[in-house]
């Protein structure tokens, strides 16, 4: 019988949960505020429970935007974490969010360093009908893949909760997000305790491209809306020839791509200014290995290897 290899990964000692990266996406704002309140009340109990295995930092990322219930003050904070943005000089005219990104990088990073947070969970809302969606940057990030797997049940049952307007908190969406965060922290706790999580297969959606609205050549105003047959149908396959937009004179504009793809972020209000009516993705099945936390011995050996690689 073939024994599948278990991938051994470092302990997740430092976790952060961030809300209010966009100040008008209110589930995360209220959830982090609530978690801060609970943490303050139960401070001593939490420390005893974890035995120091995991610390959870709760962060309100963009307080000025939150205060005004805006997505951002000067520029989108969630686009300010490129290397170029993080290392530049801070001057009087540096946009607020760039300064804040540098502060957050110091608090949670520095990005790419050994001292950085092991895991950051950033909470967002969308006006698109995406249910609970989990976003990561690599399909080889086994920690994220396993967390996503652990949240599958919530994901499936969340598809009916509907979208959330910016500036609004909907109780069912808040509750879904709260459950999601709790499940994630539970997984991290189990992982750190040595539980082996079996591998298997995961369906993931990988971004291919995005499509803008048709626009007026002079005014740049949009000349069509998302077609009623596409509206709210995030993650439902879009085939060549399917309706995409409906012009204001009633004409249907169809998807002319050659490949059937999965649409998402359909009609997200913040993306009008970014020239995005919807994003399109391919669905793939990825194989993920079984994982468990490294033992202390394995961690030491890994550190020594890392140090000697650096010296070379």
């Amino acid at each position: 019988m073939e024994v599948e290899e278990v991938e051994r990964l470092p302990r997740l000692s430092r976790v952060a949960v961030c809300g209010g990266t966009h100040g008008n996406e209110l589930s995360g704002v209220y959830l982090v505020r609530e978690l801060l309140k609970v943490k303050k009340k139960k401070k001593k109990e939490e420390e005893d429970e974890d035995g120091g295995a995991m610390s959870v930092l709760l962060v309100l990322s963009n307080p000025r935007a939150m205060q005004q219930c805006l997505r951002y003050i000067d520029t989108d904070l969630n686009r300010c974490f490129t290397h170029a943005c993080l290392i530049g000089p801070t001057l009087d005219k540096t946009p607020y969010e760039m300064r804040r990104a540098r502060e957050l990088n110091a608090m949670l990073g520095p990005k790419g360093s050994a001292g950085a947070m092991d895991l950051i969970c950033d909470l967002h809302n969308t006006t698109a009908n995406m249910g609970l969606s989990l976003i990561t940057y690599s399909d080889h990030d086994w920690i994220c893949m396993h967390i996503f797997r652990h949240l599958q049940f919530i994901i499936y049952t969340s598809m009916e909760v509907g979208p959330q307007p910016h500036g609004v908190v909907r109780s069912n969406i808040y509750t879904t997000m709260k459950s999601g965060v709790q499940y994630m922290l539970d997984w991290v706790h189990f992982f750190n305790s040595g539980v082996i999580f079996d591998g298997g297969f995961m369906d993931v959606f990988t971004v291919v491209k995005h499509i803008d609205y048709p626009r007026d050549g002079e005014t740049h105003n949009i000349t069509a809306a998302i077609h009623p047959q596409l509206q709210d149908r995030d993650f439902c396959l879009l085939r060549p020839g399917d309706p995409l937009f409906q012009t204001f004179s009633g004409e249907t504009l169809r998807y002319t791509g050659s490949e059937p793809l999965y649409p998402f972020f359909i009609n997200e209000s913040a993306y009008y200014e970014k020239g995005i009516a919807l994003c399109l993705a391919r669905k793939r099945r990825v194989k993920i290995p079984s994982v468990r936390v490294q033992t202390e011995e394995e961690e030491r050996q890994n550190e020594q290897r890392y140090t000697s690689e650096e010296e070379e």
Binding site: Y30, L31, T127, H166, N172, N221, I226, Q246
Partner: protein, 313 residues
Amino acid sequence: MSSFSSCQSVREARRVAIFGGTHGNELSGVTLVHLWMKNGTEIQRRGVETRPFITNPRAVEKCSRYVDTDLNRAFTPENLSAPADGQLPYEVLRAQEINRMFGPKGSPDAYDVIFDLHNTTSNMGCTLILESSKDHFNLQMINYIQKALAPASCLVLLNEHPLLKYSTARSVAKHPVGLEVGPQPQGVLRSNIFESMREILKHALDFIELFNEGVEFPPCSVPVFRVSERVDYPRDANGNIMAMVHPNLQDCDWEPLNPGDPMFQTFDGKTIRYQGSGTIYPTFINEAAYYEKQQAFVATRRETLSANAVRKA
């Protein structure tokens, strides 16, 4: 039971305006008005001058509700008569300009009808907003629209409350009508919401055309929801909201809320119930723009208004 009510003579409605962008992020109205400013064929009717107009262009450009202050609260007598200097908020200056162009409010020169196009994040469907229970022209127009849209529904919100009514942009006209269609997030254009608003206006303009041609509209009854009070979110000592609209109430605009029914849910999951003395009909439930106005929903009570027969003078 009253017998015959006399037929009310009402002046012809020759000058009609359609306002979009009174709130710059309510996109159905912005889009319709831009469309009609480019090509107004669809809104032309015999004997009517119909003028589409963007009321708050700077807010539209920013895609925000307003720049300095809410334009739809700015048409107070104090604001309209304030000396125009550089210190006034943008929307107050704008209100004065709109009052000059489409009013003056309360004068015989004012526009006959103004339709003001709005969206809401609340699940209100198609709603027409009235400011007076005695405007029989408006009541008849609403009755006509409702019959034309049936079986699709279009409900009527009457805000005549002495403390809660506010000075709207449309109040400049002799017959102000608010169109409120939702749910739609701010800054988003949803095709079905857009087309619903378009259809309401089509029937409204048809009514005006018929009225101006001399058609007499017989007495009718118009069921309305009359604004009775504003209900805020529970808040802590610092003014932060402590609870959300309860899942049982969320999206249930126009449905009865009885004493004891769930109303709010705290962030740690507790239910707060409605403790009032009688059944109310909440609307504007969880409207994004009303968090800052201390309003989780508006409580209304059902009433039936009688409209006299109307005919042009």
